[in-house]
Amino acid sequence: MVASRAIGSLSRFTASRTLRCSGYICRSFTRASALLTRTHINYGVKGDVAVIRINSPNSKVNTLSQELHSEFMEVMNEVWSSSQIRSAVLISTKPGCFIAGADLNMLNACTTSQEVTQISQEAQKMFEKLEKSTKPVVAAINGSCLGGGLELAISCQYRIATKDKKTVLGSPEVLLGILPGAGATQRLPKMVGIPAAFDMMLTGRSIRADRAKKMGLVDQLVEPLGPGVKPPEERTIEYLEEVAITFAKGLADKKITPKRDKGLVEKMTSYALSIPFVRQQIYKKVEEKVQKQTKGLYPAPLKIIDVVKTGIEQGSNAGYLSESQRFGELAMTKESKALMGLYRGQTQCKKNKFGAPQKEVKQLAVLGAGLMGAGIAQVSVDKGLQTILKDTTLPALGRGQQQVFKGLNDKVKKKTLTSFERDAMFSNLIGQLDYRGFEKADMVIEAVFEDLSLKHRVLKETEAVIPDHCVFASNTSALPIGEIATVSKRPEKVIGMHYFSPVDKMQLLEIITTEKTSKDTTASAVDVGLRQGKVIIVVKDGPGFYTTRCLTPMMSEVIRILQEGVGPKKLDSLTTSFGFPVGAATLVDEVGVDVAKHVAENLGKEFGERFAGGSLEMLQQMISKGFLGRKSGKGFYIYQEGVKNKNLNSDMDSILASLKMPSQPDVSSDEDIQYRLVTRFVNEAILCLQEGVLATPTEGDIGAVFGLGFPPCLGGPFHFVDLYGAQKIVDRLRKYEAVYGKQFTPCQLLVDHANNPNKKFYQ
């Protein structure tokens, strides 16, 4: 009996082995022939399953370009016409990316909305054909599946995704000021329900695979594999393909149905949504929410709601038509161009153009465990960077360590980290009161109090203990790095790293180089910043660098406007309705009145009348009364723990009254007030480019939007000038100049742009 069983398995073995062999030959054969004809897609047949593999050459990601689109169509037509093939698997062989979205260059090349609508309609047709395919198609998703990639995936009959951190699904179009233009507005609501579909399309959030499975966005999960006899990533994709093939066969044999069992809550929700009245209420609620959040400055979210509504209420034909038309319209809006520009800028600022540093930083040390120091430590340890956090007293150090722990623990509560991962990250942090271990540090970032003599002292202390190659970075918002470096024995190793508060939330890092800073030091600082997950601008040293320098004249104008009798609440609403995420008065409270005054004073001395406007006396009086902003509980507003609605600080009335100045009716309309603030900001930004503080307009836009909250819908000061028109801005400045004087004088570069309409910051 044993023998017969053995023979049985032996014969099975040889059979399966030859099969595998021939499968391999056949695959490599078709692959070879397909390579000759197609660039982005090739396919092989395994048994009766076509395995369609996407891999765009010379790119880190696959994007839905016109070429890929037509190759996919060709392949699908072959799949549909082949009698040998009964089902198909669609997979990307590019590590970490299924399809990252539509090709933005394809959209940018269009000059009219009709062209864009045309693109949308072609994609719609293809995906509809795919959706109606009688041969089941399984999308096997590993890595990012976003935008057009998601629209492709949800047109397939079945989706299998790897449960990897890199595997995310989402519709981020709204973040680019457009909408999903290849059917997602019609398919998503049916697939995940109206509320979830709105959430995905209106926030653009990325959804991880396990969550996507719960939502019904994917049907099966595949666990990523560890090392075997091949690299883990390679084998994981192979395994995903194997699993997808079994499901494709199962679907073709009708052993598996693509329908999913819905839970009770889901069933009840979908029943409720079958009632028109309930649906109307939802549309209304969502619209209200969008209006409140966007202040009507972003057209895309409203159009998304509109298109979804059309599809559900008037049928999918109307829905598809509306989707393609709105898509075309949105692609031509200023907002969309601004947002796409920002997106490109962000991508650029995620690269290290200074090359790899000679020595990678492995041991970091942070001086000062305050809000900034601890924040810097947090974003370092959670990326696996060994970090020493040093302060001078145990309570201060303990507060900083607690801040790091809390930051990590909040992620555990949100389930983006496990408690074990938190503990492992937290053990990358060493808190101490002395300079022990600094002899092994590769970089020291000081975040001590903003006081030049103190910074000099810590620099000297640090240089006495650190090795020769160690970079000394100063986190300061306004003290010139060159001045800090005057006491350094090795100024080529001194650099500025200006982080923004709260460090774990704000994406920007402004790196400041002096004339003596070496290129390798810069490369090292950029490398650390990128590892900390930051978008980085590199600017030249000078008072206020770039970001603080742009903000200060605007803040000066804020004080002036307050002096002219506009209340903090009104001012806040004027600035937020222009697109700033935080109102101007609130911003002063957040930054800290003492900090604001310190900066304004310093920069005022440097720049003289161009930074004139409001009276610093106001800040001085606030400081003397202890109104330092949020940190002291009182500023323009009163801040109380656990109280959401903040009230005006009535004690400010006397200060405001004592410094009151007459308002100028010609330049005090709501719009004028907004433009007085924004034009001063923009003018200073352009001056920074003119003076070479900024290397590129892109960095100027990224710095303004991600560091200072410049309205994203305007795309940053440089996009704003390009899209709004330099002449209009110069006109505004001249008008204000006539009333207030030199602080509004437009800079030469801006005037040049106004004089020559063909001159643009972005060609």
Partner: protein, 460 residues
């Protein structure tokens, strides 16, 4: 792989003899004795029959089982109780009442109350740790005679009140007045009653071992069929070993209130067709690890008598084997949780100055078919050796005809804390029976750890 398996299957009795003859020619060393280091021997070892959890042992406590193993050892070796210098037991899921189960069992088994005892834990290699601790005590001259063993009783596990409930009960203890007590009780919520089970998943990764084994099998592209075939091999070999009376380390155990248990009850050779019907147990619906190709929850205990060679000889014993070089390794608990044997094998061979060809009996712990086959593939892969182990070349594939010939954890059972001693005794007994000189014991353990040890046959 499959062909190897089926080949062994059919031809085992002949090939093993032939292989032995062949390998004895290539022996590179006569013995692993080292100058100035005491030789350490296993005099003998026993184990209770290993039973499926929830069967005849289900009403016992762990120290009852451990005591049975100790009594069995005393009976088998007739060692005078007062000669034993020290007792060490391994266990994994601790019974809180007897957290030092070694001491409780030793007292109950009638060992001298002057003999100290401690308990160690290192997941599935706990009793390996007990034995190597004994080796250390003897080698350093602290002891001459040590009993090492292990026990696991999965029929009963410590299920606790929730942390909130525990906290409330402790606060209640401290409350002095009625008012204080009432105020503590008033904080009670219904969800306090939900119990807390001992974790079945890895603490660091929150992944269960079966899940990890399934991923490991997939990483090495091991099919369901291969896994089922290996499991079938294990059960068939175990059945034959049982039938032929080769499992001589098993001692009968009269369970109070029940019949005497004389043999392992988890050996169930089935057919591939039957096994193919089972659904995947961890990665559903398409995984490959099933109940049939995994080791099962087991109750059992084991014990071995370890002595300095000169002491054993002075007492007139004829030891079974030397315990030679051993090695502990650890690696990534997520993706390489069960690859301990792959890492430990080349290291221990190098340390002993042996090669794969020198080994006559392999005894590897079988947690899952997929795990064993993955380890075999990893050991046979230059790519893996170069990229993950920092070695120039693979260590090579253990010949299957010398591999777990009397069954393994898949079929005999796997009481976590007790398996190590079973592996050592299986290696020692096989060397005696089959006539080889060196045995290699290896095992993986939770936490991404592993162990290997060389067992050398005692000259007859």
């Amino acid at each position: 792989m499959t062909s190897l398996l089926t080949y062994t299957f059919k031809n085992l009795p002949n090939t093993s003899k032939w292989a032995l003859r062949f390998s004895s020619q290539t022996k590179s060393k006569k013995t692993l004795a080292k100058p100035n280091i005491r030789n350490i021997v296993v005099v003998d070892g026993v184990r209770t029959p290993f039973l499926l959890s929830g069967t005849s042992y289900k009403d016992l406590m762990p120290h009852d089982l451990a005591r049975a193993a100790l009594s069995g050892l005393l009976h088998r070796t007739s060692v005078p109780k007062d000669v034993v210098d020290y007792i060490i037991f391994g266990t994994v899921i601790q019974e809180v009442k007897t957290s030092n189960v070694a001491r409780e069992a030793a007292l109950g088994a009638g060992f001298s109350d002057k003999t100290p005892a401690h308990t160690v834990t290192m997941a599935c290699i706990s009793s390996n740790q007990a034995m190597t601790t004994a080796v250390g005590l003897i080698a350093s001259g602290q002891c001459d005679v040590v009993v090492a063993g292990g026990v696991e009783l999965m029929s009963d596990i410590p299920i606790r009140h929730s942390r909130k409930m525990r906290k409330m009960m402790l606060d209640l203890n401290k409350a002095k007045t009625l008012a204080q007590r009432l105020s503590v009780i008033s904080k009670f919520r219904l969800n306090f009653l939900s119990p807390e089970l001992p974790a079945v998943s890895e603490f660091s990764t929150s992944e269960t071992m079966g899940h990890s084994a399934d991923r490991l099998a997939a990483a090495f592209a091991i099919s369901r069929e291969e896994q089922d075939e290996y499991a079938l091999r294990s059960h068939s070999l175990a059945k034959r070993a049982q039938d032929e009376g080769l499992l001589s380390d098993v001692v009968p155990f009269k369970v109070p209130g029940r019949d005497t248990v004389t043999q392992d009850n988890g050996i169930r050779p089935s057919s591939l067709d039957q096994m193919a019907k089972l659904k995947p147990a961890f990665i559903k619906p398409y995984g490959t690890v099933t109940a049939a190709n995994s080791s099962f929850l087991t109750d059992g205990a084991s014990a071995v008598l370890i002595m300095a060679e000169e002491k054993a000889l002075a007492m007139g014993y004829k030891p079974k084997a030397y315990l030679r070089d051993f090695m502990y390794v650890s690696q990534d608990p997520k993706d390489q949780l069960l690859l301990g044997p792959t890492y430990a094998t080349p290291k221990v061979l190098e340390k002993a100055g042996l090669t794969m060809n020198d080994i006559d009996a392999f005894e590897f712990h079988e947690a899952f078919s997929g795990q064993i086959l993955a380890n075999l593939k990893a050991m046979d892969s230059d790519w893996f050796a170069q990229n993950y182990m920092g070695r120039k070349a693979k260590v090579g594939l253990p010949p299957l005809e010398k591999f777990n010939n009397w069954g393994g954890s898949l079929s005999l059972g796997h009481p976590f804390g007790a398996t190590g001693c079973r592996l050592v005794m299986a290696a020692a007994n096989r060397l005696r029976k089959e006539g080889g000189q060196y045995g290699l014991v290896a095992a993986c353990a939770a936490g991404g750890q592993g162990h290997a040890m060389i067992v050398e046959a005692y000259p007859k």
